[in-house]
Symmetry: C2
Subunit: 151 residues, 2 copies
DNA sequence: AGTGAAAGCCACACATT
DNA sequence: AATGTGTGGCTTTCACT
């Protein structure tokens, strides 16, 4: 499916503040409130919009250590097995199977180094994991939004 | 700062659906609507909540190719320079400076391989970039939410 | 943190182009 | 097919307890 200009502007307005009123957005894009709502409903029904969420600053709640773990798995490990295992970690923010040497890349958010290390060790201890390689995030430069499969 | 149990439950409710009414959330956590709003306002003021956004399924709008680009920069390149350069790319979802060999890791979302390649070439052509190394995402396994600096 | 009132917003039906 | 108008009902917001 394809978004037209109006849909894009509505999504953009919601991306900046998902709690803005439809009337408010309508005033910006030149539509009435019901018209905006209808388009949002359609975008949700079509799967273009997957939901509305709050964005939390991890640092503000004491989660100050971020890192990425590359996972090297046993051959013939199913992506679904990896997903199920990682879904149990609240510290895992995102995970994807990738091309290249590693099988998957996992983004982890932890309170501190000690916490990060614990998560790393637990992930490294998963039965299908052969070895891991991890890097720490020094400073997050940009962070935008897009959602694939529900977490 | 630290969230107490009530705040956590409110944030959790908003994380699932940021457009839920305060009355609805209040019924779930055992608070009146104004009480919920007051807590949310305080969390925003404290910086724990950075905003409310819509989550978009890139695949549904025709962006089907995702990848990560490791950037190797010239020495003494400031993180802020990297941030400013990358902020101009709508295809850049997130970017961080990291420990290890690479200086920064950039997550990119593109329509297709051709588009991804164009972005890669443009990023590789930035004056402070010496070389890049990229991996493609095969399948996104998990995607949760947290926001650091505004994009 | 709760209550009550006023303002504003949402969601639906129906009419319009 | 998509948008605008109008109305009832709910939500938000504010002052006060």
């Amino acid at each position: 499916m394809r978004l037209n200009g109006l849909d894009e502007r509505i999504v953009h307005a919601l991306a900046e503040d998902a709690r803005r009123s439809y009337a408010d957005i309508g005033a910006e894009v030149g539509l009435s409130a019901p018209a905006v709502k209808r388009r949002v409903d359609r975008l949700r029904a079509d799967g273009a919009i997957t939901g509305f969420t709050v964005t939390v600053d991890p640092a503000a709640i004491g989660w100050r250590t971020e890192g990425m773990i590359e996972m090297f798995c046993r051959s013939r490990t199913a992506p679904e097995d990896i997903r199920q295992a990682l879904a149990r970690y609240p510290e895992v923010v995102s995970a994807s199977t990738v091309t290249g040497e590693a099988d998957a890349v996992v983004q982890v958010l932890a309170a501190d180094m000690r916490h990060f290390e614990q998560v790393l060790e637990r992930i490294a201890g998963e039965p299908f994991v052969e070895r891991t390689k991890s890097v720490l995030v020094l400073s997050p430069l940009l962070r935008r939004h897009a959602a694939g499969p529900p977490g």
